[in-house]
Subunit: 388 residues, 2 copies
């Protein structure tokens, strides 16, 4: 909660414009976060993960500050370009791409692509021909699997291949005429363990060596995202991540440290955003004394808080009664869907004086909220965002 | 898959307009479903659960056929009115309502409301004063908890109170001048057990008796939804549900059978819709012989298939190669989110000849898809719907 957000919400309420949940994002926080990343990893290029929050204001600010952009679709590439980023500062980081989207990206000038299997490299080579682009101009990096231990948001095996296979994929890309550029991995989103990069960097170094024996000189390691934002629990600062990553790079690559890329998303915008929502109902399921209260908000899993799925992300929720006695609650959203419950397995303490109509402030809501919102589930509009 | 949908998709493909996933909904199937419900439960009023699919064409058809509408928000009330339903055919069935939304609903002419606690009844009484509506004109029914055993889509304790408390809630509403009208419950969505209504009807009958001893004459039981649509598994026909419900009503209410309401959503539109999607990538995570294939589609959890959450709903997926040998696959969506995986815990058999660029048909996709889609996650547009 910054002073700028506090002032904004006060004015909005005084004007009577506080109907419905809203996410307010403070650009000054984004500016500070970018600066912190650039300082903590001075030799690393920052590719902001657009999917975390593609607000034009955010993209413009980061483009001005010199950031690069990691994109998941042609639409995101177009947003980054519209914000002022040149194509050489944009990667198409999704390992799952339609061939015609690769053609579109190439025509927009994009030359940096993620792959995790041979057929995806083939797609890019064919797309190059369709787009009349020299394959040698196209840099591809191969994503490897990473176990994601220590991360709050579950990491599946969806992206990446085993390290041994990555060598074959990169050789395949090389033989197809593409520039086999390097290796990427992701240690899991909201990663609280600063040492999580170590194991994956060991694998990356082995892939570099194996490729070298096959005559392929890799030069880049994409360290992915995973940098956390503060929710309820304290998290290490960006400097700690920078230090740990530098140590691991030195340990595994010695004095031949490769080019590096990071892709912060949550760590760049999470703490810049705050959702103001409203208590719609406080009730109990029975008259029993020890019955837990249910607190229903006008925002839920389908209105922007999708990351409460399996109660993975536990947001800090502030109210005007936080000095009062607390008691455990179930928190749920406003829709008629029974799965639209935020916290039930682990009850959430809220003040006993919290009542219908009270506002609540959900902190750390700048990432993975607005674009996650359902288009119109139950007739409720998607989460609005105001960038200040 | 109806002939009308098959013809439509063929024409669309011939025109080269088959870019991106689309859900095609056949109104003739909705017409048949409405007729089947009306026949299976001839003395019951059908309130279509608008949230399942609020397409204007669907609402208009059902309004013409005489259906009533169960709504979750003021926006849904407005949609039902726009489709031609008069206010007396619309219920505000969400137990979680802002007081100002109740005022809006009352001003739009709505007089039938769900509650599950005393404070929600108080809200309605206050809203009546604000909207200058006589409280006695307003019918409220109290939702009770139901365990949902036998349902595929998990039912939480989010809605409803224990039956003993419902008596107090209804008495409270009665004392506030509202018309204490009856009881509602929901047996869980995609309920395969036709006997699931029995236990809840026993509770409802007890509430009727207890209210009668307090001088309150209830007259309505809202039997909720839960009527399934066919996914992979066969489900009983609507007639079986009608028979079982009638038997349970007779068993618990004898010759004083109350007015009844049903709220089908999935059962009304589920099998009317089919999604055509595309295979974006087929790959493996390692070169091992027994490694399972990963099949990535251009639609996933955030593009409309949210009900694959926890693999709850298992859609029937058809391809042009279904005569070929099958092998188990993981199926995932196109976004850069690691949780965007549809079926992984239980592998899904798909033909070994399925390749990149092939179309797949996802059946039973008429309910809870279009409005569940995220507004723009990863830059991907929400699921389009075409009603034919």
């Amino acid at each position: 909660m910054t002073d700028r957000i506090r002032d904004f919400l006060r004015v909005r309420r005084d004007l009577g414009q506080d109907e419905g949940p809203v996410m307010v994002l403070d650009l000054e926080v984004v500016r500070d976060n970018y600066t912190a990343f650039a300082r903590a990893l001075p030799d690393t290029r920052v590719f902001y993960a657009v999917k975390a929050n593609p607000a034009p204001e955010v993209l413009r600010l980061l483009a001005e500050m010199g950031s690069c952009f990691d994109t998941a679709s042609v639409a995101e590439i177009e947003m980054a370009l519209a914000a002022g980023a040149s194509p050489d500062r944009i990667s198409f980081g999704n390992t799952i791409k339609k061939e015609r989207d690769v053609v579109r990206a190439l025509k927009l000038g994009i030359r940096l692509f993620a792959v995790d299997c041979e057929v995806e490299a083939d797609k890019i080579a064919r797309a190059a021909e369709a787009a009349s682009v020299e394959t040698a101009e196209i840099q591809v990096f191969c994503r490897i699997l990473c176990d994601g231990a220590g991360a709050d948001w579950p990491l599946s095996r969806k992206f990446g291949c085993v390290p041994e296979m990555a060598v074959d994929v990169l050789e395949h890309a090389h033989r197809a005429g593409l520039h086999a550029y390097g290796v990427s991995f992701h240690v899991g989103s909201q990663q609280a363990n600063t040492e999580a990069w170590d194991g994956a960097l060991a694998s990356a170094a082995t892939i570099f060596q194996e490729c070298a024996t096959r005559g392929i000189g890799l030069s880049m390691v994409n360290l992915g995202g995973g940098f956390p934002t503060k929710y309820l629990k304290a998290v290490p600062g960006v400097e700690s991540y920078g230090d740990a990553i530098f140590r691991a790079l030195t340990k595994h690559f010695g004095n031949q440290i490769p080019e590096t890329i990071i892709e912060p998303g949550r760590g760049m915008v999470g703490n810049a955003g705050l959702i103001e929502a409203e208590v719609v109902l406080v009730s109990k399921k029975s008259q029993a004394e020890d019955e837990v209260r249910w607190v229903y908000l006008d925002i839920g899993k389908f209105g922007g808080l999708a990351e409460t799925m399996d109660e993975s992300i536990r947001y800090a929720i502030r109210t005007e009664h936080d000095a009062d006695r607390m008691s455990p609650c179930v928190i749920a959203g406003p829709t008629c869907d029974s799965v639209d419950v935020l916290y039930e397995k682990q009850h959430y303490p809220l003040p006993v004086s919290l009542s219908i109509g009270d506002k609540v402030l959900i902190e750390g809501a700048g990432a993975y909220t607005t674009t996650y919102a359902a288009v119109a589930f139950n007739g409720f509009p998607p989460l609005r965002q105001i960038v200040i």
